[in-house]
């Protein structure tokens, strides 16, 4: 190996972070320039991860609540899902480089594209969740309402998790290498937000299941995010850096505090339930932003791309 002159080919050290099983390695780069492109997605995308997850988990919660004899909870959850599916398509369309061509998504179904799969899931889920809520409010066509509610409830968990596949099916290391954990982070985050939102909009006497969904979801979110960061090892460093680090810490703090408030005081004290729910909603938003921003940091530094690949080659021998 020769030594670089001036600003020659860059060399980066990738240190083994906590949970890392690999030793430090010297990494050669081209003027420290990224190997990968930064995502071109803007704030609408993490916002949609939140609204889509909220709508999906709420539809499931609403459907179960109606069956379980909690009409007020069911109504609140349906309304939340309706809100989610009204804003979600608007967010997705406004993020396109050519918004007027959004319907080009609907000219094909491509099973290899998580975005295509997701578009079709949303195309069925959105009207179903919308019809379920609107028909129930109006008291029209109860059988159609039930059908719509069942479809939306069944697709809800897919809505809440496919977005994790969408980001993981990229070349960005911090996303792709977390492909086994990200769907659980998103599922937990969606459940926490849906439970929290329903708790806010339901009288305390009927919000028990919503609080339980909120707490279970929040614990899943916290646990899965922690497992993800540990398993990522040095690749998970973006979750400790810059704005991704701040979003990530805020997510953990809000979600942990919200869980404690709802879990310990939510049943008896309305104030604890309300503040706890607001914290869980904030935590869920922060979690999506942490994941979104970590992708940018991971793509920007070639050490995350080159280091593990070089090691893979060496391990293969």
């Amino acid at each position: 190996m020769t030594t670089p002159v001036g600003r020659g080919p860059g060399r980066r050290r990738l240190r083994g972070g906590p949970g890392s099983v690999v030793p430090s390695a010297q990494i050669r780069t081209y003027y420290d320039r990224p190997v990968l492109k930064q995502p071109v997605w803007t704030w609408e995308i993490p916002a949609y991860f939140f609204t889509g997850g909220l709508a999906g988990a709420s539809a499931s919660l609403g459907s179960m609540a109606r069956r379980g004899g909690h009409p007020l909870l069911a109504r609140a959850a349906r309304r939340i899902a309706l809100g989610g599916v009204v804003v979600s398509p608007a967010l997705l369309i406004s993020d396109l480089g050519r918004p007027e061509r959004f319907h080009h998504m609907l000219r094909v179904f491509r099973p290899t594209s998580p975005m295509s799969v997701g578009t079709w899931v949303l195309t069925v889920f959105g009207p179903a969740a919308g019809a379920s809520a609107v028909l129930a409010e109006l008291g029209w066509w109860p059988r159609l309402q039930r059908l719509a509610e069942t479809v939306a409830g069944g697709l809800g968990p897919v809505m809440a998790t496919y977005t994790a596949v969408l980001v993981a099916d990229t070349a960005i290391p911090v996303w792709h290498e977390a492909r086994h954990e990200l769907p659980f982070v998103f599922a937990g985050s969606a459940a926490a937000s849906a439970g929290a939102a329903a708790t806010l909009l339901t009288p305390a006497s009927e919000s028990g299941p919503a609080r339980r969904v909120a707490v279970t979801g929040a614990l899943l979110e916290l646990g899965a995010a922690e497992v993800m960061r540990v398993r990522l090892g040095e690749q998970g460093e973006p979750y400790r850096l810059a704005d991704a680090g701040r979003w990530s810490r805020a997510a953990t703090a809000c979600t942990a505090a919200g869980t404690a408030l709802i879990g310990l005081g939510g049943r008896r004290r309305r104030a604890a339930a309300v503040v706890g729910s607001a914290l869980l909603l904030a935590g869920s938003v922060c979690q999506r932003w942490a994941v979104y921003r970590a992708g940018f940091i991971s793509a920007a530094d070639p050490k995350y791309t080159v280091g593990p690949q070089r090691r893979r080659i060496e391990e293969r021998g």
Partner: protein, 275 residues
């Protein structure tokens, strides 16, 4: 696989960086032929490279790597010993381009079908279909494709699809004065690459290696084969790229497990009819 059954062999590039002289005729020819917009002009200070990377407006990119021997201190010390320093001094040049992957991540994730495989098994964006969703951008493991800010759509090398259609070679290959850029059937390109590697190694270039040859690896082989004189990452290329879509089963498997967990958590909240 293209689904075409017309006897048309797969076409591709062989870029032999050992004879690249860094003239950038390929960059210019590509821009001219394809009507690619100009780049905002800036000096990078990175050797002769002012385009920096492939992107929406750069479909051929010449990398320049200066390294070795000639340390500033020794140059100051003795101007007469330039010759001996020259032996260690290294100035690598390489013209990079889209790899036209066999398993192309950009194409796999495209939700509109704008990206497609041509009859030459090259990967091309249909500009009248692309709606600028941007998914191909972080999907490409080589950081090739990007969205053009001025028009909101994704752009990259088409391997001069219009020229291939009428039996012409791509503009970059046509313009290359040293035959660093070669074009032909992928089979011929791979064979040519292997022959050149033998010659270059016999001439004493220890670090020489082929990149993108053969049908194995994370993108199942590329339509652009390279002879490099050092490791790929030195040129800004990923040493062991993988198309995310190769992991689709495990990606959806994890999502299915998470979805079932979510449904279970919701159902469990109603167990026992508690309020």
């Amino acid at each position: 696989m293209t689904g075409y059954d017309d006897g048309q062999p797969r076409m591709g590039f062989f870029t032999d960086t050992s004879v690249c002289i860094g003239c950038k005729a390929c960059e210019v020819a590509c821009k001219e032929w394809n009507g690619v917009p100009e780049n905002p002009f800036a000096w990078t200070g990175e050797s002769y490279d002012n385009t920096s990377s492939l992107g929406a407006n750069t479909w051929r990119h010449v990398a320049f790597i200066e390294s070795g021997g000639q340390s500033t201190a020794s140059t100051v010390q003795s101007a007469s010993s330039v010759q001996s320093e020259d032996e260690d001094f290294r100035w690598l040049m390489s013209s990079d381009v889209c790899k036209h992957c066999t398993t192309a991540a950009c194409l796999d994730v495209c939700p509109t079908g704008a990206l497609f495989k041509t009859e030459f098994e090259t990967v091309v964006v249909q500009e009248d279909v692309c709606n600028g969703c941007g998914y191909c951008v972080p999907a490409c493991p080589y950081g090739v494709i990007d969205r053009r800010e001025s028009d909101g759509r994704a752009w990259k090398c088409t391997l001069c699809y219009d020229r291939l259609k009428v039996g012409e070679e791509p503009a970059c290959a046509k313009a290359c004065p040293t035959d660093s850029i070669n074009f032909g059937t992928l089979e011929a390109m791979t064979a040519m690459a292997a022959d050149r590697l033998d010659v270059v190694v016999a001439a004493g270039r220890a670090g020489a290696q082929l990149y993108g040859d053969g049908p194995s690896g994370g993108v199942d082989g590329a339509g652009s084969v390279f002879l490099l004189l050092d490791d790929p990452e030195v040129y800004g290329l990923p040493p062991d790229p993988i198309a995310g879509s190769k992991h689709l089963p495990s990606l959806w498997g994890a999502a299915a497990a998470a979805a079932v967990t979510l449904a279970g958590a919701v159902a469990a909240a109603f167990v026992g009819g508690r309020r």
